[in-house]
Symmetry: C2
Subunit: 397 residues, 2 copies
């Protein structure tokens, strides 16, 4: 058995980013940039007013002075001329500051007089002016390749005048469930049958992590069926299987995938749930064989599949983010396996409190659905008491 960190490192080291594509900026949310975004314009494009008021020369705009208003510039309609001594130009928020102006006198600090305004409060140079390029200059590097785009990044890229962005393709992930006992949700269950929840759950997870899932027809517990199904996955950037990881079934899975030239990297991780995970490859295609218990499949998804999709999609390598929380309840000492307990999470008294469920069976989906976090226990961690600080991963999907 290898440990969690080594397993993740070996999986990630075996992956290469997929190809690129151009997408409309409007559809780029959560896509990973393949090329840096640089500014195609300056922002603001010129010195602009941050307020409604008047462009003035600060030297003239002292309390009590009167200024002649020689024109107006609204947003999108710059004043064509320039501003001389004793003059002012009416402006609005977003108006370009005309040549010769070096400050904005806000409307509230003026009173109207014949042909112009009287200044009621002295203004300083540069006051209320957004300088050209104060946010970014033409050519500035704004966002680096490898970044997964946020809504804010889309705003920034739009402001930089890009209608398109060059991103990595969505990694194509084939999902294969195995087992004689499983049927799809809503289908008639056979004798001894159970619903296959893994395929639908993992497809949703792949999509949530930015991949393009395709679900293969399930394979029964039969070498030929597993081999045939694995063949349908060819061309995928990753094949994810579930089931067939118990002692007897493992041999079957190995034999079925082996028929397609499966090369094992490792089997078994010192963790709970998720011990019987298998990783290897068929030709160029990496294969991640997850346990059949849905909770184990989900936890392995968070710890391995998420980071794997990040690497395939060209994102900087990410480890799951561990935060800390106060323990509610008590826990006995841990054994040799790293443990990921399903747990409620709530904010109390200025911090997160984590409460592991009493039942941690890896087939139980109800406590998983009700969890806000996984509580991580390192191997051989001593017993823990109420209020102890523990490591958690918050579950956001």
């Amino acid at each position: 058995m290898i440990d969690v960190e080594e397993a993740r490192s070996r999986i990630l080291a075996a992956l290469r980013p997929v190809g690129q594509e151009i997408v409309p900026l409007a559809l780029a949310y959560r896509r990973v940039l393949a090329v840096d975004v640089r500014a195609r314009v300056a922002h603001p494009p010129a010195d602009v007013s941050a307020m409604d008021g008047y462009a003035v020369r600060a030297a003239d705009a002292v309390a009590g002075a009167q200024l002649r208003v020689i024109g107006e510039a609204s947003a999108g309609h710059p004043f064509a001329g320039s501003l001389g001594p004793g003059e002012a130009v009416r402006l609005f928020t977003g108006s370009f500051v005309p040549a010769g102006g070096d400050a904005i006198l806000i409307q509230e600090n003026t009173v109207p007089v014949l042909g112009g305004i009287e200044v009621t409060e002295t203004v300083a140079v540069a006051r209320h002016i957004r300088k050209q390029g104060q946010d970014f200059a033409l050519g500035d590097m704004l966002l680096a390749a490898g970044r997964r785009m946020t809504v804010r990044d889309i705003g920034l890229t739009a402001a930089a005048n890009h209608p398109w962005v060059n991103v990595f393709q969505r990694p194509r992930v084939a999902i294969l469930a195995t087992g004689d006992e499983i049927s799809l949700p809503g289908e008639m269950l056979g004798p001894g049958g159970i619903v296959n929840s893994n395929s639908t759950m993992l497809a949703a997870m792949v999509a949530a992590y930015g991949g393009e899932p395709f679900v293969l027809p399930a394979a029964g517990d039969d070498t030929d069926e597993i081999a045939a199904a694995a063949d349908l996955a060819r061309g995928a950037d990753l094949l994810v299987t579930t089931g067939g990881a118990s002692v007897g079934a493992h041999d079957l899975m190995h034999a079925g995938l082996g028929r397609q030239g499966f090369a094992l990297d490792f089997w078994k991780i010192a963790m709970r749930p998720g011990k019987p995970l298998i990783f290897g490859r068929i030709g160029d295609m990496p294969v991640l064989a997850l346990p059949g218990n849905p909770v184990a499949a989900y936890v392995c998804g968070v710890l391995y599949l998420g980071p794997a999709l990040a690497v395939l999609a060209g994102q900087e390598v990410l480890r799951p983010v561990f935060e800390t929380a106060r323990l509610q309840g008590n826990l006995g000492p841990n054994d040799a396996r790293e443990d990921y307990l399903r747990a409620r999470l709530h904010w109390h008294d200025g911090g997160w409190v984590v409460e592991p469920f009493a039942r941690q069976d890896s087939a139980m989906l109800t406590p998983l659905a009700a969890s806000g976090a996984l509580l991580r226990r390192p191997p051989f961690q001593p017993g823990l008491a109420e209020g102890d600080m523990v490591e958690i991963i918050r579950l956001d999907l």
Copy 2:
């Protein structure tokens, strides 16, 4: 001016959930349930083995006893008969436990003997059996209407044998940018022109919050154009506009929307950025008029548009979640307006540290893109020093 909490309450109180639709479970990630999900099967469907081994009667399976192996049950292939005294049935993980069996003797605790096995370790009743319905029973309430579905919920709903779910429709949100100066990303900029980053950013935000955005052609600073554009929004569940919120332009916006029968609820919020927000309705359609500065539009999006989309989509009403973090740097006293500072966020020494950017101009997108959080300052908060605990909203989009 009203405060942030009152503004949010008034917006949310004015909204009603949209209609419902049926979607395939596989596409239900982040959709809001319109009807409770109840179990259509029990999980597990019968008593099943959690290990590879033998079904036995615990009373017989004492160390040293020999048991006759009368058959085998693999997952999906239950044993047809029942188990009598001194008998065992070979099982695998997921196999149904045959009638008469009340414990699982794991493979490791047996040695083969002629016609059967010898027990090497005594087993207790119910050991390694997952009881029928231990996760959920037929008819159990699993997920309540109003819940936004996670990947885990999809797994649970699949296990409960549902191929379809009844969800609220995605709220349709019309997005209208106004201003003579704006042009879409990639289009030629006019004199005094600036790129419209708001429409694309807000469309991405609406989609990220679970809505269906549609972007209207921009309206110039002209009453007729604004009225015509607002007319194109009819049928939307919400109209979001940007710009036209400065002093002069406000009148224009009000006049243009008023031409369509706009009824004002409130204008101006005691916050920064985002003061000139307008809320009201045109007939049945709520109208949220955001400031034109993209940072202000984004912050108002997080504080008002996100919760508004939750209510429109039938989700339980959500307030933004405030956490706490340690301040890096110092801040002077705050004025009468609730302040939302853009800030870097990093995990250090067991907790989050938040570092506000020096420049907080509401037109600057580069610090917004680099932010991990908004730091909330209540009105009249005294100055703060390094290490003080402050309230933050983490930015996940």
